[in-house]
């Protein structure tokens, strides 16, 4: 390959006759000589990398471009070696502000009049907006494994990225079954510790002595049955997150040990003399009134202040009924996968029953109801007779009642509309009736397309 004088390259003029042409291109473009020093750098490249052209010219490309593939899989190096162009390879760069910018990049060779290779050109486009839109579309009502369009939950979704990034201790409040563990998981998965473990401990499920051993571990011989060393959950959560569910159920004795590990990460396994250190982010959850417990002396005030750094409160399902249709759809998809069934939805009557229920067990209860329905419903639409009897008006007397003709028609039309994805023309064609006739029937039976993901309230 023909080589330019690197010293000459290093002192290349920031202005080149090709700059106006390159500047008119929306994609970032830079060229390098055979020593990988940047020879031209257009305005879009300046904008994407947040690096002024004057500082980029003459510098090795990796000092300016700072791409995830510079070190291990440089596309330009590959092109220089093979002579083959690379088109739209995905990577990310770290711009001068420290932002990770997703990019799609392409490469080509630069040759002189004699065809000798004198360098390479790299074009790249900023994919941030596309990625953001994709995330937004996917995450409008979904966040991790959580689903909600409720404004209170949406506010929590909006806060999670910053909370996840902060590393602060988080306290999640909410009734049983409101999705506290899912929220903890979402925070962990968005945090810089996402590749580390998420260790879940239900503090209310174990007696005090067992819980202590579970949290901090023990050495062989620490007690009668301790035949070998066992690492505690804090040790297992090192580099990740520990989720302490039902924190309000921890005894006062154990509260003081928890306080210490929360303060400086130090603890001693049972039977150990040496102090150990855990680098685990702590997320706690409770369905109990910790403020009242502090006042009554059942929960240490200093521990309360230590865990109450960032508090999130998940509303019960009865206060976010608008989420029920999307949750029902989600659980039907889940159980179709798990049970290998082809249930298409629920009848309007069932949806009406589900919307009116109070859900003392919250989302977990709704999931159980759908799971129950899957026992007897193999395919088609879940009807009232598939629901737990306690859920039906009159304590289940309706479960054996034969459906009326109108109910049958409503269920049939609803299932059909679901199948054709609410395309009235397709449904009318299938039924062999006019679209206006179909529209009248749907109106008479009160059948409306359920709100879909992405639609506003």
């Amino acid at each position: 390959m023909a080589s330019r004088d690197p010293k000459k390259s290093a002192h290349a003029s920031p202005e080149s006759p090709y700059d106006p042409i390159l500047d008119s291109i929306a994609e970032g473009v830079f060229t390098v000589d055979s020593d990988w020093r940047i020879q031209s750098f257009n305005r879009a490249a300046e904008r994407i990398t947040k690096t002024p052209r004057g500082e980029a010219i003459g510098r090795p490309c990796w000092e300016v471009f700072r791409a995830s593939i510079c070190e291990s899989a440089c596309a330009l190096r590959e092109t220089m070696a093979s002579g083959e162009r690379i088109v739209d390879r995905q990577a990310y760069i770290v711009n001068a502000d420290g932002d990770r910018v997703p990019i799609g990049l392409s490469t080509a060779l630069l040759r002189d009049e004699d065809g000798a290779i004198i360098g390479g050109v790299e074009t790249f486009r900023d994919l941030s907006v596309e990625e953001e839109l994709r995330r937004e579309l996917a995450g409008r009502i979904r966040f991790g494994d959580m689903i909600s369009k409720n404004h209170l939950v949406q506010e929590i979704f909006a806060l999670v990225p910053d909370i996840a990034e902060s590393g602060s201790t988080v306290l999640i409040r909410g009734d049983s079954g409101t999705g506290k563990e899912l929220l903890a998981r979402a925070i962990h998965e968005q945090s810089p510790r996402s590749d580390g473990p998420l260790i879940v401990v239900n503090c209310g499920a174990l007696p005090d002595t067992l819980l202590e051993s579970e949290l901090f571990g023990h050495l062989a011989g620490a007690f009668t049955d301790a035949t070998r060393d066992k690492p505690g959950r804090f040790e297992l959560a090192n580099g990740g997150t520990i989720f302490l569910d039902e924190i309000g159920d921890v005894s006062p004795a154990l509260q003081s040990r928890l306080l210490r590990v929360l303060q400086d990460g130090s603890y001693e396994p049972l039977g150990a003399v040496e102090t150990r250190h855990s680098d685990a982010r702590v997320i706690c959850a409770t369905n109990r009134d910790l403020d009242a417990m502090v006042e009554s002396g059942d929960f240490r005030r200093d521990l309360y202040y230590r865990i109450n750094v960032v508090t999130l409160e998940l509303p019960p399902l009865r206060e976010r009924r608008e989420d029920i249709p999307a949750l029902v759809k989600h659980f039907i998809e889940k159980f179709n996968r798990l049970r290998e069934k082809t249930v298409t939805g629920v009848s309007p009557r069932v949806m009406d029953i589900l919307m009116r229920h109070d859900y003392p067990g919250n989302i977990r209860e709704l999931e159980n109801i759908i799971e129950h329905a899957f026992v007897t419903c193999r395919s088609g639409v879940i009807r009232a007779r598939h629901l737990p009897t306690a859920l039906l008006p009159g304590g289940g007397s309706g479960s054996d009642k034969a459906p009326t003709l109108e109910e049958l028609e409503r269920d049939f039309l609803f299932a059909l509309m679901e199948r054709v994805e609410w395309d009235r023309a397709a449904a009318a064609h299938e039924l062999g009736i006019h679209r206006t006739t179909l529209w009248r029937r749907l109106k008479r039976l009160g059948i409306e397309a359920p709100a879909r993901e992405g639609e506003h309230d």
Partner: protein, 145 residues
């Protein structure tokens, strides 16, 4: 002072997030010696930060570092001197001689970040001035483990 440098061949790795090797060097006043080389990569930010924190460095010298990885390092208690570029031997030399100033060995476009010092930006603790120990064992690349 125990210094870590994310390295790529003879130079500081351009992106700390994707660095594949970390060089640990001991800087004692006027001299530096390399201590060991630690492979990195194949792990995410949290684990990588935990691994680096486990080396008990006084400072990590590296190239570009994303906010996310910077936050992970900060949470793990690692002091970071980011946006550094150049041959790692020259960087160490500048470090022990007090020449690693915000306007030297800095990546293009990143001088203001080094000078301004964001929350992730580590401060250079005084390594002292002087010359490299010519007889230092394991000095340079050959000294890595």
């Amino acid at each position: 002072m125990r210094v870590g440098l994310t390295v790529w061949d003879t130079r500081i790795s351009p992106v700390a997030d994707t660095a594949t090797e970390l060089l640990v060097a001991q800087c004692d006043g006027t001299t530096w010696t390399t201590e060991r080389r630690v492979p990195l990569g194949g792990e995410g930010h949290g684990r990588m930060a935990g691994k680096i924190a486990g080396l008990e460095l006084d400072v990590l010298v590296c190239g570009a570092v994303s906010r996310r990885f910077g936050a992970a390092l900060e949470q793990s208690g690692v002091r970071v001197l980011p946006w550094v570029t150049g041959d790692w031997q020259d960087v160490l030399e500048a470090l022990v001689s007090g020449q690693l100033t915000p306007d030297r060995f800095v990546m293009a476009g990143c001088g203001r970040r080094r000078r301004g010092g964001g929350p992730r930006d580590g401060r250079q603790s005084g390594p002292g001035r002087g010359r490299r120990n010519g007889a230092g064992q394991g000095r340079g690349r050959g000294g890595g483990q």
